[in-house]
Amino acid sequence: MSEGSKPETASAITLEHVHKWYGSFHVLNDISLTVRRGERVVICGPSGSGKSTLIRCVNGLERHEKGRLIVNATELTPDVRSVERVRRDVGMVFQSFNLFPHLTVLENLVLAPVWVKKMPKAEAQRIALEYLGRVHIPEQANKYPGQLSGGQQQRVAIARALCMQPQIMLFDEPTSALDPEMIKEVLDVMVELAEGGMTMIVVTHEMGFARTVANTMVFMDGGTIVEMAPPETFFTAPNSERTRKFLSQILAH
């Protein structure tokens, strides 16, 4: 299947009754979720509730064991080619940045386009510099990640994912490892990305960001989706007692 000939389905990501276990521990318990194209889903929930596991299943970093998971019209199956296919369309940003410390910022950005997409180096560099501009650090191209602040590193990580020109972006607590004064610069970039129409799943506890950006809020606990609602209802009139308790806890901070 070539790039352009993909059937235009309305949903970017579909999870149907997805289950996963670590040994006997039921980490994902019957998760069903649909993300439309251009939709922004924000997932929150207590630590250990399975948020990371869920979004890592979406790009095959973790494999689900039951149910169906369809990303961009490709179903994730045990066949490694399905994972390769999906990863071409899905970018991911991690809590701990995970930049490659032995490469400069620019080298971090052009690596995947050149090796995975076989893009000519000059074109990859042009695109990389463009995205560095988009995340507001064009002047850092030739530095090593270790020379940048946390906020700058995370913005480079976002640019690195964007250089693969993904249709879907996954964020796993992108600001949790940052000092407070750097959180905003990263969230600003994510807001701009959302305004550009990117399909996004964001795991975060930044509720201000969630309110501005999310189309759908998801609250997870104990491996299940406890509550799923548009932000207006989610924040003002949540159905479940657990959601209400969780919100009061994190909003108190």
């Binding site: 990863r87 991690f94 995970n98 090796w115 270790g146 602040s149």
Partner: protein, 383 residues
């Protein structure tokens, strides 16, 4: 490194994060006087009573041992003598032994009139190493240089064409043989060790079992028995009439042995790479080999430089064990030089000579690995 506490305003802290500007924040000078020999001695040699005692003990040891050593090695040494009797009359070292026997020690049984050939080969080899040491020369042409150098070295050693007489490997010996064993050992064992280390961490059970089995089997056996097996047992398994050259058998033994140990050094490096590096590479869609070659190995090998070089040094010296299969490496020639009865008492000089050569190469490897570590460290930080 602890610095004297300096109070800073948030502005100063911020300024430091951006670009350190000289003189923006005044730091207190460290209290210890700098540049004074007495100050240095007080801080490093006599800072406490135990430290002072250790200093005095070491000084005493030096006073007792060094002057007699100098006396023996230089002052009363016989530097040149055709007759060993002169040496026996003297109190000091008999360097005349080296003068008389150095060609045998260095080149073993290689035909005497052809000694210029191994000498030239060793010189070319050392030059190639020297050139390779400069990171500025790490370009594709360096590989070409090495292929040419090794080709010329082989041609010089073997001969048989271009008017050079043929010299079979049975007659190779001394320093060239030691260098061949070490260089071929390192060059062949290193890639094998990387494959073994990766195999040991593979998700494929068969690959993992094979790697673990090989590594543990070889590590459980002394090198001397690996060499012995390579020399005595391998021919038993070969069909009648097929012979494998003795040197080649030794090389195979050394390569397998070194690869197993190196693999564990490399695995240590691989294990210290955070999981996030693998995941980031996966998430970008890199294949297993792209991820391994472009992301993981460059970082893992850098971390593993000290144990890897340690292994190189130890295997360089272990090549001397090939004596048990009858190869005349440097240590064996140093020993064999003493079979000439009148020179027999002067074994210390002969072994010192060989030892100095081993030491020079080993010390060089050790220092170079330090340089490399620092340079790679700096590389990751430089703007």
């Amino acid at each position: 490194m602890s610095q004297p506490p300096v109070t800073q305003t948030p502005d100063e802290i911020f300024a430091r994060e951006e670009e350190p500007v000289d003189g923006l924040h005044k730091e207190e000078a460290p209290p210890r006087a700098r540049g004074s020999v007495l100050g240095w001695m007080q801080a490093n040699l006599f800072s406490s009573i135990p430290n002072t005692l250790v200093t005095i003990a070491c000084a005493a040891l030096l006073v007792i041992t060094v002057p007699p050593l100098i006396q023996w090695a230089f002052v009363e040494a016989v530097w040149s003598a055709a007759d060993p009797a002169q040496c026996r009359a003297a109190e000091g070292a008999c360097w005349a032994l080296i003068e008389q026997k150095h060609r045998f020690i260095l080149f073993g049984l290689y035909p005497f009139d052809e000694h210029w050939r191994p000498l030239l080969a060793v010189a070319l080899f050392v030059i190639a190493i020297a050139v390779s040491c400069f990171p500025g020369f790490w370009r594709p042409w360096l590989a070409v240089l090495w292929v040419c150098t090794l080709g010329i070295c082989a041609l010089l050693m073997w001969g048989g064409i271009l008017g050079l007489t043929f010299v079979e490997t049975e007659r190779w010996g001394g320093l060239p043989l030691t260098l061949i064993l070490a260089a071929v050992g390192i060059v062949c064992a290193f890639p094998i060790s990387i494959v073994l280390a990766l195999g040991r961490r593979s998700e494929m059970p068969a690959v993992r079992a094979l790697s673990v089995g090989f590594i543990e089997l070889i590590r459980g056996v002394p090198l001397i028995s690996v060499l012995f097996m390579a020399s005595v047992m391998v021919p038993l398994f070969l069909p009648e009439g097929v012979t494998v050259n003795k040197l080649l058998r030794a090389l195979i033994g050394i390569v397998l042995f070194t690869a197993a140990y190196l693999a564990e050094a490399v695995r240590g490096g691989l294990q210290s790479i955070p999981r996030g590096q693998f995941e980031a590479a996966d998430a970008l869609g890199l294949s297993y080999w792209q991820k391994t070659v472009l992301i993981i190995l460059p970082q893992a090998l850098k971390i593993a430089i000290p144990p890897i070089v340690n292994q190189f040094i130890s295997m360089f010296k272990d090549t001397s064990l090939v004596i048990i299969i009858g190869l005349f490496d440097l240590l064996t020639t140093a020993k064999t030089a003493l079979t000439d009865p009148p020179w027999r008492p002067f074994y210390v000089e002969s072994y010192l000579f060989a030892g100095l050569i081993y030491w020079a190469f080993s010390f060089f490897m050790s220092r170079y690995s330090l340089f490399l570590e620092r340079r790679l460290e700096a590389g990751a930080k430089r703007a």
